[in-house]
Symmetry: C2
Subunit: 159 residues, 2 copies
């Protein structure tokens, strides 16, 4: 069986900011990310789930830790335009990514990652996926354990 | 200035399923995606945002429309193991992706996409990003308008 997972990447240089309960209507995402871009802040992950009630949703993104304070300032300045009800953030996160090819047609790859991390008691705090990358945010203290667990799961720790 | 966006991809063959208010503890994601993998359902996007209260969060994923009913059945079977409080779904979604290279270091690319779609009244229902792909879920009826808008934004409609 062809090995689809080719590597595990991780970054501890990630700070997470979540805007809670923003209006789910056109223009809100732009009102968040245009000012960040104008401030030359490089946003890495953006995660927005579908609104449950169709009117409010949450918007989370990650930036380098060095840009955490500045990002929060930018967002405080954009509060009126964005209309979020609360803002939360943490520098205690790490991004773990499973890198591969054609993962969409290999239904179990993500499931196996989730199961392996669960087996180590590692809580998966956010998830985004594409055909070539499964990215997860976890508590930074679990980074090394997560990477080792996934290397072992996918047989990447053999020479 | 180097052009970082190389193309716009879209898929109307996407059905969205959201599990509302699952426990944010190890094992829950595995309990959702292992049964789907065992049923040979190819999951495309997975979106999970960070829990606001640290105890509950939502989990959304997309599958081909032909697998929508089967996916819901699998999840109803997994209800006890997963413990979601509600399940919602729709086949009226399309996935729009901005494909590029090194987009993390080009802070405005995503922001511009959000602004351009907002300018057309297109609501962005979910977002996931990586360095090479910005993926958004929108209402399927806006697919063509969204693709044309983004082609034009990034100058991809010239020959
Ligand atoms: C929440 C935000 O993404 C909003 N739906 C928008 O289109 O801008
Ligand atoms: C919600 C789900 O992702 C959970 N946090 C888990 O680790 O499985």
């Amino acid at each position: 069986e062809k090995q689809v997972v080719t590597g595990i990447a991780y970054s501890k240089d990630e700070a997470q900011i979540s805007l809670r309960r923003v209006a789910d209507k056109p223009g809100v995402a732009a009102a968040v990310f245009m000012p960040l871009a104008e401030a030359n802040i490089n946003v890495d992950m953006i995660v927005q789930n579908i609104s449950e009630d169709g009117s409010l949703t949450d918007l989370t993104f990650t930036v380098p830790i060095a840009d955490f304070d500045r990002s929060q300032q930018v967002l405080e300045g954009a509060r009126e335009a964005v209309g979020y009800q609360a803002i939360q953030g943490s520098t205690d996160v790490a991004k773990i990514s499973v890198i591969g090819i054609g993962m969409r047609s290999h239904a179990g790859v993500a499931a196996q990652a989730f199961e392996a991390l669960a087996g180590r008691g590692i809580n998966i705090r956010a998830i985004t996926t594409s055909e070539i990358k499964i990215s997860m945010l976890i508590d930074a203290s679990y980074t090394e354990l997560a990477v080792r667990t996934l290397h072992s799961l996918y047989g990447l720790d053999r020479n």
